[in-house]
Every structure is written in C-alpha cells, then in structure tokens.
C-alpha cells in the first residue's frame, strides 16, 4: 500500500466531520427553500401548517440521509478488501460510546418528532378527519358543510342554507369551515388536496374536519380510498370565492335545485340508508 492506513480515530473523525458538514449544508438548504416546494401549498391555514410540518420533517430527515450517505461512501470505499487471500477485520463486537450516543440521538429525535406532531395536530386538527367528537376544535364561528360520498361522486350540503345540496363544492374565503364527511355506501376518503384536508367517509359515521380558507382559488377534490369501479374517476374541482360571490352562488343553486328541495331528507350528519340485503 502506498499510504499507511489511517488510525481508527482518524476514520471516525473524518466520517463525523464529513457527515456534519454535509448535514448542515443540506439541512440549511431544506429549511430555507423547502417550504416553497413542499405540498400541500398555502391553500388554507391548515395547509400552511402542514407545509411547516413537512419542512420540519424534511429538515430532520435530511441530516440523517446526509450523514448515512457520508458514512457509507467512506466505509465502502475505504474498507474494501483489496484482493488476495481473505483477511479478517478487527474483531469489534461492541462500543458503549457508539451505542449510547446512537440510542440517545434516535430517541431524542423520535420524541421531538412525536411532540411536534402532537402540538401541530392539536392546534387546529391540521385538516384531518377527527371522527364525530373532534378533540381539536378551533374557536369561533364556523360554516358547516356536509360532504356526502357515494359511489362514485361527492355531493355537498349546506345546512345553514336550508339544507341546500349540490354536486359542487364552493366555499367562502377567509372562513372557518366545519366539514362533516359521511358516506352512503362504501368507504371513501374526501381529499381536498390544496386545502390540506383528508377525512374518510364511512357509512353511518360523521367524520368532522376543520379548515380555514384563505384567498379565492380553486382546488382539487379526489377520493383517496379505494371505493369500487369508478374510484379513479371520483374527483372534481372546488372553488374558494369571496363572501359576496358565495352568497350569490348559494342563491343560484337554491333556485336551481328548488324543485327537489322538498324531497331531500332532513339534514342529518349521518345517514343509514337501507343496505338492501340479498334477502330483499
């Protein structure tokens, strides 16, 4: 060999220093620029919260990847067997420093992640479905909107507007929305992508999710739970519009669906439609 093998401490030092340098650089880049690229964007207060959350996650994940990459590149290039007869490596079986440090670092990271996630979750429910008795309920007045999933379309009811039901989702801007997601048949999942909302629609269950809209925009709604033949086609677009436009839209829908209004069932957060067993 041309160069004498470095001593053990040097190997360790090189990997640790290299890992830290790359981690710091990558993490700073992620922390500064990550938010711009990370979903689900700034469509709502909840979505912004998720972007923050995703940024934090990525900022924690990045140094792990960077550190391990440095480790593996170093180890795999430095410690390779260079041909000839088999040579055994040093019989290292344990190292309490490495062990303790590793356990401490992973534990602290994990506990931080869980703590941060719980904090974010309890702040405003972060757009997720919380079941019939939500624990993270934002203060203030909210516009209730019911999402009725069926095979294979979402329809929406506005109980405060006489139980108006329509196949389009239009929401007023800068308003807290209380979504009640339920299903008439199979399990669906209501996913308003840019609003950062996801809530499963179960038959006979009222799954509540909260979202505070920001400025006017459009967003995509997709079903995120396999629900049968047309699952892949179960999508539509929704709109967030200014308050006045929203009121006008409600009026037009009310007149549009006036003929059917008296046939709509009384507003209820859950439905138990007859399942029509084979006996029937």
């Amino acid at each position: 060999m041309a160069t004498p093998a470095p001593k053990r401490a040097e190997h360790g030092k090189r990997v640790i220093v290299g890992g830290i340098v790359l981690s710091v650089v990558a993490t700073v880049l992620v922390a500064v620029f990550g938010g711009r690229f990370l979903p689900p964007g700034n469509g709502s207060v909840q979505a912004s919260g998720q972007v923050l959350d995703n940024t934090v996650m990525l900022a924690i994940v990045t140094p792990v990847i960077a550190g391990l990459l440095v480790f593996f590149i170093y180890v795999l290039s430095q410690f390779r067997h260079r041909g000839g007869a088999l040579v055994d490596g040093p019989p290292l079986r344990d190292d309490s420093r490495v062990r303790v440090w590793w356990i401490v670092v992973t534990s602290v990271t994990v506990l931080f992640l869980a703590g941060f996630g719980t904090f974010e979750l309890l702040q405003n429910g972060s757009g997720g479905g919380q079941g019939p008795d939500p624990i993270a309920v934002p203060a203030g007045t909210k516009l209730p909107v019911q999402v009725i999933a069926q095979q294979w379309q979402f329809t929406y009811r506005y109980p405060t507007y006489g139980g108006l039901e329509t196949p389009q989702l239009v929401l007023p801007a800068n308003t807290y929305i209380e979504l009640h997601v339920t299903s008439l048949d199979a399990i669906h999942s209501f996913w308003a992508i840019e609003l950062g909302v996801k809530a499963d629609a179960n038959p006979g269950v009222d799954n509540v999710a909260f979202v505070k809209t920001k400025g006017p925009r459009t967003f995509h709604v997709r079903c995120a739970e396999l629900c049968g033949l047309w699952h892949g086609y179960m999508f539509n677009n929704g709109r967030v519009v200014p308050e006045a436009q929203f009121t006008a839209w409600v009026k037009s829908q009310q007149s549009d669906f006036a003929p059917i209004a008296k046939y709509l069932p009384k507003y209820s957060t859950t439905y138990y439609p007859d399942p029509q067993r084979r006996a029937g």
């Binding site: 006979g204 138990y272 067993r277 006996a279």
Partner: protein
Amino acid sequence: MTELAQPGADYSIVETEEPEVLSRNLFAAGQLLAGATAFFFLSFLFAYFYLRSLNNAGLWKPKHVDASVTWGTIVMACIVASAMLLRFGRIDHAAGRREAFRLKALVALLLGLAALVLQVLAWHEASFGPTDGGFASVYFGWTAFLFLFVFCTLFWLETVLATSWRYRNDPMGAAVVAPGHASGDPSRTAHDIRNPVELNRASLGALSFYWTFLAGIAVLTWIVLYLI
C-alpha cells in the same frame, strides 16, 4: 474444518423419535397453539364489545334476539367437564392406571361430542338467525368457530385414546412396533418409533393442556355471549 457429515447419505437412515423430544415439542406447540387460539377468539371478543358499544342503527341486539342461557350453560358445562375428566385421566395415565385413563378419556370424548350435538340443537332452537344484527353475528360466528376448535381437539383426543387402546397389552416403556409401519414404508428396515406408549403420554400431556385451555375459552364464551 470439522467433518460434520459425509455427502450422499440417503433416506435409509432414520432418526428415532425420542419421547422426551416429542414431549417438549408438543409442550411448546400446545402453548403456541393456545396463544394463536387466544388471538383468534380475541378478534371475536373485540367484535363483541366494539359492536356493542357502537350499537349502530340500534341493531346491536333487537328485542327478540336473546341467546338461551340454558343451552349455553349446558354446552359449556359439557366442555368443562370433559376437560376436567381428561386432566384426571392424565394423572391416572402418569400413575400407570391406563385402564382408568381410557375410561375417563372415553367419557371425556363422549361429553365433548355431546357438547357439539347440543350446540347444533342450540342453534336450531335459537329465536334468531345470523341476519339479526350485531349480537346475532357475533353469536353465530363465535359459537361456530368454537365448534370447529372443539371438534378438532376431540379428534386429537380420539387419537390418544385409540393409541392407548391399541397398545393396551404392552407394558409401559417396552412396546414393540413392527419395522417401518409408522413411516408408511414397509420396505424400510429401520423405524422411527420405539415406544408408542411413552409417545402417547407426551401427546396426552399437550392435549390435556390445550383442552383445558379451550374449556377456558368456552367459559369465556359463556360469560360473554350468555351472561353479560
């Protein structure tokens, strides 16, 4: 390098089944089977309490749905009595009273079969069918699978009884088996069985454990489905 084996050995060399090994294997298997059985019925227990607490559409237990405590008690009592008898029989067997063991095992087998017949009658006499809501579903599902488990365990019990009967004249520890017959290959000169009576004792030990365990499940069934 240590020379552990020569290449090319063929199937003519047969390993013997040592009763102690079988006994340990069956002991471990009995416990594991009990664990698996417990998790199987835990699913039904979970379903019971889950559906009961939800009471969806008010159809957990409509008025006419009520499992008969009388039938349930009789079935459970048969299973428990059978398991207890087998435990006593095992003590007899260990003490060398194999006649007494066979009598107890036979009665235990008949009691088990009686439990199965009575269970079928209980289903037939029930005031409701499987379609009648949450409780009815759990009731029929749970009892049906308990039926299946009991049936399979009775099969095991029968094999122990039958083996004991077949070798009734052989003294413990000295039974003779024709070469190869247990392996299904009459042309093979070596055989893997030397002492069926000892082996049977190992089998009985595990069976007695598992059957008692299953009786415990039957008691749980009785408490959950009939009492509360």
